[in-house]
């Protein structure tokens, strides 16, 4: 049990020494082997690697000298499974089971890194660099992710070693709730869940509501498909969220918290359960924390796969055990939220910044970022980009820096077409806006939004009409059905988009599409419906020529919309072998042996069997 600051500091000192091997690269006579245990690397087999690693270490009789640490996500998911060896900080990527014996014997036992298994960017002749030297890491600045990939999230002492639970001590013993709120206001922290509402202001409203029962909630629903920042924070540093929720509880006068997590995140749920249990056992969560009389409890609630439950009022309805339908606002949750009591809801990443702001001061945080968006933002980089993974950069970094420098650009020599931010509520950003500094206001200005941080890169092979249709398919699916504008409006949008992708659209449809978009935006009940038309509006704004190509020329320039494609046999390449004609299931190809074959478009199903079988690459679909 930790009841005093002396006890907390004693744990801190002891474990700080343990983590100094990896944090400060101090050689204390043994090695730390860090293996990523996040979802990405676990999916690519890291759990099995740990087992093999343990066996090999035993075989070599060096158990005493090696400390295996299962961490959260390092960020570079594309290179997983990832393994780091400290104090050197060498970086093995895409580690395979068969490589482990050699790594253990050569590196862990005899101190000679196995160069050919290291991440190639860190090897320069005889010099071996670390993760920090890669272009992926250089421009990053880690605040919310500071402990991810550094500590073992299942050991509370490692969090304590990294100043864990110092912030709640400081708050409870030397600050008033108003001080806490003022610090957050001064820091300029805005909500990372999408809206960008000032966190201090939200807490101020909730504090002002008079009620003996209030609640603190954490939104870990992470509904944007293609985003995984919040998951990584929970998997890599769960205590940071727990401690911040305690601080929020102190600030607004609440003693009960709920974390609402997506059920699709089993590892995050498990780590949270462990973290809550450990914090309770240490007395850092529960009754009378640090003997100050302040009590705070946290319950976990699992979502059940409904996107709308990320919306604040729907999330609360869901925790109450109902269909997760949103409620009209006002009353705002700060007045009447969960179980009709004053409630604050913040996003995981928002909480992950709070303890650092308390410890380092508002000025420190306000020193990063742009005028109206302070601090850093975590993005989940995905899609057509080399370094898919997690990146945290100061607000105001340009998209170009994120995509080209950190992300390593587009693979396979393809051309960048658009970056999608804000998920189903956001928009597509075209090449001409790549140099816009990323912050809340700029992204809205160019027709997208920050969202929670999903950043999907698309190249010339992606059809923007198809992408708009993809997002509408999502919202049609996820609309809760409570309001007509969203329930029926999104369905009509989807139908018009389908018509266009099938080559049956008209120019008039484009106008109808736009008109309907504005109608839905104005009339939908909650944020889901109000933002659902954004993917359509932004693609119409920046990629109108692609829409025109579909409706006027009946052509899909990216070659995605199947109905608009035709299969052609290139006469200059066709040898007349007749294979395609024999493979075609509907006898749509005919010709004479030895001379070029032709496709009968009235029969062709565009199944692609002919293309797959042609030995001369003579068949194309465009």
């Amino acid at each position: 049990m930790i009841r005093t600051i002396e006890q907390l500091n004693a744990v801190k000192e002891k474990s700080a020494e343990v983590v100094s091997t990896r944090v400060n690269k101090i050689d204390r006579g043994y090695k730390d082997v860090l293996v990523c245990g996040g979802t990405g690397c676990t999916s690519s087999g890291s759990a099995k690697l740990i087992k093999i690693l343990e066996d090999e270490i035993k075989k070599n009789g060096i158990e005493e000298k090696i400390n295996i640490v299962k961490t959260g996500c390092f960020g570079l998911c594309v290179l997983g499974p990832i393994m780091m060896v400290y104090p050197e900080g060498t970086f093995y990527s895409k580690v395979e089971a068969g490589q482990i014996p050699q790594i253990v014997e050569s590196h862990l036992k005899n101190g000679v890194p196995v160069k050919e298994f290291l991440y190639s960017e860190t090897v320069n002749g005889d010099e071996i660099g670390t993760l920090d030297d890669t272009s992926f890491y250089k421009k990053q600045h880690r605040v919310a992710l500071r402990n991810c990939g550094v500590i073992n999230p299942e050991h509370i002492e490692e969090y304590i070693a990294r100043d864990g639970y110092q912030a709640i001590y400081k708050v409870l013993t030397s600050m008033t709730p108003d001080d806490v709120i003022q610090t957050l206001l001064d820091s300029g922290l805005r909500g990372r869940g999408g809206g960008g509402f000032p966190t201090g202001l939200k807490w101020k409203f909730a504090k002002a509501s008079v009620n003996e029962q209030k609640y603190v909630c954490c939104n870990a629903d992470e509904g944007d498909p293609g985003a995984f920042m919040d998951r990584s924070v929970l998997e890599g540093d769960p205590h940071a969220v727990i401690e911040a929720m305690e601080i929020a509880g102190f600030a607004i006068g609440a003693n009960q918290g709920y974390i609402y997590v997506r059920a699709e995140y089993p590892i995050a749920v498990e780590r949270l359960e462990i973290a809550i249990k450990q914090a309770e056992e240490e007395g850092l969560l529960g009754d009378d924390i640090f003997g100050t009389g302040f009590s705070f409890h946290i319950g976990l609630r699992l979502g059940a796969g409904a996107f709308v439950c990320g919306e604040e009022t729907a999330l609360m309805t869901s925790i109450e055990g109902n269909r997760g339908e949103p409620r009209p606002r006002p009353p705002f949750p700060a007045v009447k939220g969960l179980f009709e009591k004053p409630t604050i809801l913040n996003n995981v990443e928002t909480y992950a910044n709070v303890c650092q702001i308390i410890l380092n001061g508002a000025q420190w945080f306000a020193g990063m970022g742009t005028e109206k968006s302070k601090g850093t933002k975590v993005f989940a980089l995905g899609g057509k980009i080399r370094n898919t993974g997690l990146v945290e950069v100061p607000m105001g970094t340009t998209l170009r820096e994120v995509i080209e420098e950190i992300g390593g650009g587009i693979p396979n020599g393809k051309k960048f077409k658009a970056a999608q931010t804000g998920g189903p509520s956001g928009g597509c950003i075209p090449p001409e806006h790549l140099d816009v500094p990323i912050d809340y206001d700029n992204l809205i200005f160019i027709g997208s939004m920050m969202g929670s941080g999903g950043l999907i890169v698309m190249d010339e092979d992606n059809c923007m009409v198809d992408i708009a249709k993809f997002f509408l398919d999502f919202t049609v699916d996820e609309s809760c059905g409570k309001c007509t504008a969203c329930r029926i409006g999104t369905k009509r949008l989807y139908e018009i988009l389908t018509k266009i992708t099938e080559g049956k659209g008209t120019l008039e449809d484009l106008d109808k599409l736009e008109e309907l978009c504005y109608y839905i935006k104005e009339n939908a009940l909650c944020g889901l419906g109000q933002t659902a038309p954004n993917p359509v509006l932004s693609t119409l704004r920046y990629f109108r020529d692609e829409y025109i190509a579909h409706v006027v020329d009946k052509r899909c320039p990216a070659g995605v919309c199947k109905e608009l494609l035709t299969i052609r046999i290139l006469p200059e390449k066709c040898k007349g072998c007749s294979l395609c004609s024999r493979k075609c299931p509907v006898n749509a190809i005919s010709g004479k042996i030895g001379s070029p074959y032709v496709v009968d478009h009235s029969k062709c199903l565009k199944c692609g069997v002919c293309m797959a079988n042609c030995k001369f690459n003579a068949i194309v679909m465009d």
């Binding site: 594309v78 699709e264 059940a304 055990g321 898919t388 993809f470 809760c480």
Partner: protein
């Protein structure tokens, strides 16, 4: 109300019922207990047939309509049984732009069933999901607890053969 009844007859064991009752009495008095109870009930039975919903409604003393309303609202709750091998293809944005739609279509073709359905022999069920958080490995699908990443359409056949 028209209840969606599964075409497969319900066989619950006494053991399952005992576990369900234990879960209900453990959570019954919590605020907002219905969701956690349904989640655990689905763990026990694999799905939530109307018979199980009825037990929960009776024991919690709430109308069946309320239980049914919640069950049908959330994508994770299923009123139909799942296959022995539950295939789930990620149609999240990161996976979609990297071609997971083609993976899904290939599975539809191979298994002869649509999303949300189960093969007649009860072996495979197919679903689409939205992002399991492994976007770095896109496109991704899962079969029970195994995750398959960086897929191509050709991989699908190879992987399915493993389960035959």
């Amino acid at each position: 109300m028209v209840l969606e009844k599964s075409s497969v007859p319900f066989f619950g064991t006494a053991e399952q019922k005992k576990r369900l009752m234990a879960v209900i009495s453990e959570h019954k008095d919590e605020k907002g207990a219905l969701m956690p109870i349904l989640q655990k009930a689905q763990d026990i039975y694999g799905y939530l047939p109307i018979e199980v919903q009825q037990i929960i409604a009776d024991e919690m003393d709430i109308p069946l309509e309320k239980v049914y309303g919640v069950v049908t609202f959330y994508a994770q709750f299923s009123t139909h049984p799942k296959g022995r091998y539950r295939i789930s293809v990620c149609l999240g944005t990161a996976c979609y732009v990297k071609g997971s739609g083609d993976i899904f279509n290939r599975l539809v073709e191979r298994l002869g069933i649509n999303g949300g359905e189960i093969t007649p022999d009860g072996k495979f069920s197919l679903d689409a999901c939205r992002c399991i958080g492994a976007c770095g490995l896109a496109p991704v699908m899962t079969i029970n607890d195994d995750v398959y990443g960086r897929l191509t359409v050709d991989d699908v056949d190879r992987i399915l053969d493993k389960y035959n």
